[in-house]
């Protein structure tokens, strides 16, 4: 809903993402905050935020596959692994300075693999599809460990893992520290976020939503299910691939065991907490869950100290159980997620002091 007195007088205004002056100010403030952040965050929080950004890109992908198109994907973390390995192998072979060329390739490769594992979505949905993508999670990790044996190469590093050079722009600039990496990740988060945001408003995005709401009805309306379902997997996994590539170049080391089902579940949880089908909600959910986990990490030691009769230090337990409780509570009491709360807040803010 719009604030009173805001009218569109041109197509450009009708299509605008940012409409009012307040929104512009907010955008400017957020951008300024993001730029200034690493100067006062400290190394630990910088690390948390970089990982949050990488996660956010993967969850944007999940937002498109699952949130918009309704095709559940339990293997996002494995598709990240595909992107990470593509980027790692190509930069190792070509040289780190080709990073900007390799990055889209990593996304595309992950997208292709995602499309292959999303193929069952043509015949099945819901649980069946969840199982197929979960199988992808395990099969991809297995293949990454054993590719070298099948191909007789040493490209993949097998179970030993693979060293990765830092990201580099054509030899001019190296993202060698967290400080620099932060800006790379944030720039990509903005670009991918804009892509995801605009996706909703395109023909493709509307087709996705139609498929999510009722795929049979969508097909009757002339939407090519075959094409659009696979496209949703391709785009979603493209995002995962980009996130994976950043992950690889941030850690300088990748190994199949870093990409677990556990991560995929957390990504889905972030999507749910934020609210399916909303980019802003995706951001909210990811930030919320990441901060919750960081909170658990930082607060649990004090809980442990205060309650010494607990069997052990409980950081791990607090994080994982808080996550589960939050996801369950949201699904029961606010299935539309934080995004819906935000909409309610916005509406009441605009209508204030009236009720409606």
């Amino acid at each position: 809903m719009r604030p009173a007195g805001t009218f569109d007088v041109s197509y450009a205004e009708d299509m605008a993402i940012v409409r009012t002056r307040l929104q512009w100010i907010l955008v400017a403030l957020v951008v300024a905050f993001i730029i200034a952040l690493p100067n006062f965050s400290g190394l630990y929080w910088l690390n948390v935020i970089i990982l949050m950004g990488i996660t956010l890109i993967a969850v944007f992908g999940l937002h498109i596959t699952t949130g918009l198109c309704g095709q559940i994907n339990l293997g996002q973390s494995a598709f990240m692994a595909v992107g990470a390995y593509t980027s790692a192998i190509l930069t190792n072979a070509l040289g780190a300075e080709w990073f900007l060329v390799v990055l889209p390739l990593a996304g595309i490769n992950a997208g292709i693999v995602g499309t292959i594992f999303g193929a069952p979505s043509l015949k099945v949905k819901e649980f069946y599809l969840a199982m197929a993508t979960m199988a992808a999670q395990f099969i991809i990790v297995y293949l990454l460990i054993h590719s070298d044996e099948f191909l007789g190469t040493t490209l993949f590093g097998g179970p030993n893992g693979l060293g990765v050079p830092p990201a580099n722009i054509f030899g001019f600039f190296e993202f060698g520290t967290d400080f620099k990496m932060y800006y790379l990740v944030m720039a990509l988060v903005m670009i991918m976020g804009l892509l995801a945001l605009n996706m909703t408003r395109t023909r493709v995005g509307r087709a996705f939503v139609a498929i999510r709401d009722n795929d049979l009805a969508a097909e009757v309306m002339g939407i090519n299910l075959f094409y659009y379902k696979l496209l949703s997997f391709f785009i979603g996994c493209f995002f995962a691939g980009i996130a994976g590539a950043l992950w690889a170049h941030y850690f300088y080391y990748i190994q199949p065991e870093q990409f677990t089902l556990h991560n995929s579940v957390w990504y889905l949880g972030m999507l749910v907490v934020g609210g399916m089908g909303s980019v802003l909600g995706t951001v909210f959910g990811t930030v919320f869950i990441t901060l919750l986990d960081a909170l658990a990490y930082n607060v649990a030691p004090f809980i442990s100290a205060a309650l010494p009769y607990l069997p052990q230090n409980i950081t791990y337990v607090v994080g994982i159980i808080l996550f589960a409780i939050v996801v369950i509570v949201f699904l029961i009491y606010e299935p539309r997620g934080l995004a819906h709360r935000w909409r309610i807040f916005k509406a009441s803010y605009r209508l204030w002091p009236y009720a409606y």
Binding site: A119, P120, F138, I139, P311, I320, I321, A324
Partner: protein, 295 residues
């Protein structure tokens, strides 16, 4: 040939246990259309509870099993009432994510209660094997297979002949029809959860005795039981047993003969690959119901 026989027999035995785990999934899915992805988590946690009774507290094994079943009843009822019932009518995605979140929480609870430590039941089932010619059958395998078969027959009879069982069958067909027949659908949901968790407890104890009690046991509910229910069909009780035995044989025999060719480690992948193939070829399994959708 000896090797093949050995692998085949072991595969059948393992398959019986997989079928038992899958049975818990099928019973819940049949009535309430919830695929309980946390089933493996419950299995794992209940096996730890049984261990807690039997080993540190020194209760006899039969008493521990009875107590664990009591806990399973309470747990099943509570989970259905508190978590699943409010989700009735929500999209399927919600139940998938809720059960996955429960799975995570159960792993956390295990770490809280038992610190992630591996444990084992002592003096429960003798660990010697029975030799049938060239084939060795571990008594654990034999016991779990026999228990699985007995439970299967018991539950089949329960669903075929008992009043409650028939009510569950009707609920699985159609909630509206069930209501008009005077069946309280919500009670049936709770009953199925209770039964499923009792099965999880039995399967967990058998699996723990067969191997070890470990957090990793939870994965059996995902990477082994899901291929089984998919192969047998999500709605079919006999399908769970048949699917379990097929998957068990495929895994054990497959690992025996494929591993030398691919450099090992394929045992965990075979069931999942099988599952992907089924999804592409015959998505509703051998005995599942093909759903015809209407707008």
């Amino acid at each position: 040939m000896d090797m093949f026989l050995q692998l085949l027999v072991t595969g059948i035995m393992v398959g019986g246990l997989y079928g038992l785990v899958a049975l818990g999934l099928v019973i819940v899915y049949k009535s309430s259309r919830v695929l309980n992805l946390a089933h493996g988590g419950f299995l794992m946690i209940l096996s730890y509870v049984a261990w807690q009774f039997a080993e540190p507290w020194g209760l006899p094994m039969w008493l521990s099993i009875v107590l664990v079943m009591g806990i399973a009843v309470v747990l099943g009822y509570g989970v259905e009432r508190i978590i699943l019932r409010p989700l009735t009518g929500q999209p399927i995605l919600a139940t998938i994510i809720v059960t996955l979140a429960m799975f995570e929480a159960l792993e956390g609870i295990q770490t809280l209660g038992w610190a992630g430590l591996t444990q084992g039941y002592h003096n429960f089932i003798p660990s010697t094997a029975i030799a049938l010619g060239p084939v060795f059958i571990e008594q654990h395998y034999l016991w779990s297979f026999v228990v699985a078969i007995v439970l299967f027959l018991a539950f089949l009879a329960f669903f075929r002949y008992s009043r409650h069982g028939l009510a569950m069958q009707i609920v699985s067909e159609d909630h509206q029809v069930a209501r008009s027949l005077g069946i309280d659908v919500r009670t049936v949901f709770a009953q199925t959860w209770v039964i499923a968790l009792i099965i999880a407890a039995i399967a967990g104890i058998l699996y723990g005795a067969l191997h070890v009690i470990d957090v990793e046991n939870a994965n059996i509910g995902l990477i082994k039981a899901l291929p089984v229910v998919l192969l047998g069909g999500l709605e079919s009780l006999p399908g769970a047993l048949v699917g379990g035995i097929i998957v068990g044989i495929a895994e054990i025999v497959g690992a025996g003969y494929i591993d030398p060719l691919v450099g090992g480690g394929s045992a965990d992948i075979i069931p999942l690959t099988l599952m992907l193939l089924i999804l592409l070829i015959k998505p509703y399994g051998l005995f599942g119901w093909v759903r015809i959708e209407r707008i």
